[in-house]
């Protein structure tokens, strides 16, 4: 490749990395606006020592300051590892970083993700490959980090053997994730954006079955804040607004390119950064984040850790398949299903399903609005039936459900199409 092009690409990569670093460090600094230094440190210890099963809101366990610090640190760590492995800052990587950052508000922490990352790293060495080839799988694979915490702190082992066994479980998960993630993507043919959510659901289900076979069981947690903290809401609104501004300022053709971006169906693998550029992807991410906040506010729901995690995941996938036009029908489908079944629209469970159901956005993008609404409708019905299977140890429960819904709907839609696309 031409040297000038290579240099230009390297310089662009540096800028992209710098912006991502600024956003993660921003959270770390902001954490001390919400709590004292001692309070934040005590909170982060509480977070690292909690079993973290679904739903464990870190705003309750550690407080707002510690949760922000946890999120900022995890994003910083994932960006740093990607940088050291010369990974391009493209759509999948941005989605993975924001998903880790979002779930750092309810389930992931600096302790429980390390075993899984190490496991995938060991796998790459066994395969005599670069870790960069598996880095996306490693980051998304931290969906199963509650297994590490649960084995460490929730199964009655004393502290040292518990931590040893927990980390060993994380390494084991990391060793089996890559081949499974690569294989399961064919199951839903790329129509479920949270592919690792489906893979992790299957792994979590196997783990939980073995636990139950040995006589161990646990109940899901329901720990979350029920009121919105207004300064935190303002911080997040400013965060997403800054993304919109960066997107608009750094590209003269931002809106025109954005309209082009929204024509994508969004099916895996639609990397908006490669197809439409970093600026427009950041614009899309900011808009999705603001829409997420507006939606939660309209439904009068609380902005707690899990909900923030949902919004961050929506934002991350704004670089990798989601945009307002393909996400909206799925959201409508979930809302229709909730209204018909009488579920409270402001409940945390429903808000999470609304935000995470957008994993099925490619269905509306590819088959149209009605298909998207049907997917959202069915998703709400199924998702609440799957948590038992993995005992709340797969944080991406909606990705687990989304895999089944996509695998169920896509062949039906395909068989009734007038003409088969090649």
């Amino acid at each position: 490749m031409d040297n000038a092009i290579l240099k230009s690409m390297e310089s662009n990569e540096k800028i992209k990395y710098r912006i991502m670093y600024v956003y993660s460090i921003g959270f770390i600094l902001a954490s001390f606006l919400f709590d004292s230094f001692d309070g934040v440190m005590e909170g982060i210890l509480n977070i690292m020592m909690s079993p973290t099963l679904l739903l464990t809101d870190y705003l309750v366990v550690g407080g707002i300051g510690a949760s922000l610090l946890n999120s900022g640190l995890l994003m910083l760590l994932t960006i740093f590892i990607a940088s050291r492995n010369n990974t391009l800052m493209n759509g999948p990587l941005i989605a993975a970083i924001y998903t880790v950052g979002g779930f750092a508000f309810f389930g992931k922490n600096i302790f429980n993700i390390l075993g899984i990352l190490l496991g995938v790293y060991i796998f790459s060495k066994i395969q005599k490959d670069h870790f960069s080839r598996y880095i996306i799988i490693a980051y998304f694979g931290t969906a199963l980090s509650p297994v590490v915490s649960q084995v460490s702190y929730g199964m009655g082992f004393s502290i040292v053997p518990g931590i040893f066994l927990g980390v060993a479980a994380g390494i084991f998960i990391g060793l089996i994730l890559p081949p499974l993630a690569s294989s399961f993507v064919s199951f839903h043919q790329g129509f479920n954006l949270y592919n690792i959510g489906f893979t992790s659901g299957v792994i979590g289900m196997i783990f939980m079955s073995v636990f139950r076979l040995t006589g161990y069981d646990h109940s899901p947690e329901q720990i979350f804040v029920t009121k919105t903290n207004v300064p935190l809401l303002i911080l997040l609104a400013l965060y997403f607004l800054s993304m919109v501004l960066i997107g608009l300022v750094s590209s003269k053709r931002a809106w025109k390119e954005y309209l082009s971006l929204m024509k994508n169906p969004g099916r895996l693998v639609t990397d908006f950064v490669t197809l439409h550029g970093f600026s427009v992807s950041v614009l899309n991410m900011g808009i999705l984040g603001l829409l997420g906040i507006v939606l939660v506010s309209i439904l009068n729901g609380p902005l707690n850790g899990p909900v923030i995690g949902g919004i961050f995941t929506l934002v991350g996938f704004g670089a990798f398949g989601k945009h307002p036009l393909n996400a909206f029908p799925v959201v409508v489908g979930v809302l229709v299903s909730a209204l018909l079944s009488g579920i409270a629209l402001s409940s945390t469970g429903l808000l999470l399903t609304i935000l995470f159901a957008t994993t099925l956005a490619p269905i509306s993008g590819h088959y149209g609005y009605l298909a998207g609404i049907l997917a959202g409708f069915l998703h709400l019905s199924l998702v609440s039936n799957l948590g038992y299977l993995h005992g709340g140890m797969n944080l991406y429960n909606n990705g687990f459900s989304g895999g089944f819904i996509a695998a169920f709907l896509v062949p039906i839609f395909e068989s009734y199409k007038k003409e088969k696309d090649l």
């Binding site: 960069s132 598996y134 690569s182 090649l422």
Partner: protein
């Protein structure tokens, strides 16, 4: 290396799909599997594709490899139902596309 043959097969499937989709139903395929790289060459006729399509495909197959996407998504390429032509760039190092007489010719190279 152990998945390389499977990956080359999937790349070939995707290119065959491209020919069929463009209305080229007579296709010759050549695959050369070396120690350090695999090369696939397809030639076919007889529907002429536009210059824009040629430019787009040329841009796809000459875009940088994306190692980080490869292990996660390579099973999607060359599958039965959906075109994944945009993923080709993630899996091949470089390529050529153009007409030789009336025949559309595509060559891609993947280093191991």
């Amino acid at each position: 290396m152990k998945d390389e043959k499977s990956k080359l097969l999937k790349i070939m499937n995707e290119l065959v799909r491209f020919f069929l989709k463009a209305g080229n139903h007579h296709i010759n395929i050549q695959m050369n599997l070396g120690e350090h790289e695999g090369v696939i060459i397809l030639e076919g006729c007889c529907t002429r594709i536009s210059d824009d399509q040629i430019r787009e495909l040329d841009s796809i197959i000459n875009s940088p490899r994306k190692d980080e996407a490869e292990e996660y998504y390579w099973n999607l390429i060359g599958s039965n139902d959906f075109s994944e032509i945009h993923l080709l760039g993630a899996l091949v190092n470089d390529g050529e596309v153009g007409y030789v007489g009336d025949n559309l010719r595509i060559k891609v190279r993947r280093k191991f």
